[in-house]
């Protein structure tokens, strides 16, 4: 393991000061479940690791016209908090499918977004929920929609002096049903071969609105707007869902690996978008989830 200096700021102000001072020589570490493995492979070699585990107050879950989740909230905490299950169950359902209980006990929602691994599960779910992240630096605060956060392979718009402090999820539209499907043909603790998060909002038995996002289908988490546009205003029939799902083939750019070739993953993206849409419609009809 490479050498580094571990710094433990006592509050958010000290974190921001440390980041401002060291710039891109410093990396933040919360749970470390992504970062430590990158460091073990010498892919990331920060001179300073800025430890967040002493910072208080960044791990709450508050509901007030939507959900405000502290960036330091572990996936385990999110999946086992009741208020998430009622009204934002897509997020709880997604968290439960991430890796193993050990990873979820340390991995944080803010870390997952900052890490920007395109195979992760939570980013597409957060895109579909219309989530926003709050970023803070010494220069100020800004909010970025999760759908606009990712710029490339392990890359985001987050600057070296910025800290993710909160994730906001707005109230979900009534008449919505949502689902997260993770295609795991190998082991249960694996990253997805392809993963689809979908939300369909029904109005008078037509699709009023839709959100579709994919994980493990490109070099970033991917929002499939072309599928969403094909669904709006349509009746939620199997043919409509099938035709809309087929459009995802034109926007995915899967990375071939031991789970499958790019062509295989593209074909599976179409299959799983179709299945996710069907389930989301079913759940919307059943009164939402």
């Amino acid at each position: 393991m490479i050498s580094f200096t571990y710094v433990e700021p006592r509050d958010v102000g000290e974190v921001l000061e440390t980041l401002a001072r060291h710039g891109d020589e410093a990396k933040l570490i919360a749970g470390g479940t992504g970062l430590i493995n990158l460091m073990k492979q010498n892919l990331v070699q920060p001179a300073y690791l800025v430890g967040l585990h002493r910072i208080r107050g960044l791990d709450s879950i508050k509901s007030a016209s939507g959900l405000a989740i502290g960036a330091f909230c572990t996936l385990r905490k999110i999946e086992s908090t009741t208020v998430v299950d009622s009204g934002f169950s897509l997020l709880a359902e997604t968290c439960r499918q991430v890796a193993t209980i050990r990873i979820r006990s340390m991995a944080t929602i803010g870390g997952a977004l900052a890490h920007a691994d395109p195979y992760q599960d939570t980013p597409p779910a957060l895109m579909v929920l219309d989530a926003m992240v709050r970023l803070r630096s010494q220069k100020g605060t800004r909010e970025v929609p999760v759908s606009e956060l990712f710029t490339g392979y392990y890359e985001t718009v987050i600057q070296p002096d910025e800290l993710v402090t909160e994730v906001f999820i707005p109230e979900q539209p009534s008449g919505s049903g949502s689902v997260f499907i993770k295609f795991l043909p190998q082991t249960h603790d694996d990253y997805a071969t392809v993963a689809v998060a979908a939300r369909v909002t029904l109005r008078n038995e037509r699709i009023g609105d839709a959100r579709v996002a994919l994980g493990a289908a490109a070099s970033t988490p991917l929002r499939a707007k072309v599928v969403e546009e094909a669904l709006r205003g349509q009746a939620p029939t199997p043919d409509v869902l099938r035709d809309a799902a087929a459009l995802v083939a034109s926007v995915v750019d899967p990375i071939p690996d031991f789970r499958g070739s790019a062509n295989y993953k593209r074909d599976m993206a179409v299959v799983f978008v179709r299945r996710a849409l069907a389930q989301a419609v079913m759940r919307a009809r059943a009164g939402g989830a």
Binding site: M1, I2, S3, F4, T5, Y6, E8, I29, G32, T33, I36, N37, K40, L49, G51, H53, R76, A99, T100, I101, R102, I103, S105, M106, H188, D189
Partner: protein, 156 residues
Amino acid sequence: MKRISPHVNGQQISREIPDNRLLVDFIRYDLGLTGTKEGCSVGACGACTVILDGQPISSCITLAVMADGGEVTTIEGLAKDDRLHPLQQAFLDYGGFQCGICTPGQIMAAKALLDNNAHPSEDEIKAWMMGNLCRCTGYYKIIESIQAAAHGKLAP
């Protein structure tokens, strides 16, 4: 270098360590507690499972500094004097291990489960234990051992 002061198996420990010391290495080399094993080194196999502040974690991808001020429980922390923990006894009575290399991790993960949910269903056991790999047993006896410990049923 950093001085860290975790509670390990109920004892206050204080040691000076390099910043980059991994928790599994701190446990095994600095503290001499070699019950915890290292298998894959990437947090996937579960052999290095310990309990940190009530949560099961992979100690191979955790820095020792992250345990400063925290409560760490390893396999050595389960028995009370000569009395094995019910989980340890159950693994013995129900044949929950063969070579034993994954076993400390299995038992620590199971302890975290029972601390969280004293009467898990079979599905709940499988979902929780899913990340602790075993090459020998085929998992059935591990699940039975956990069920026996959970339901207070130990072999005659």
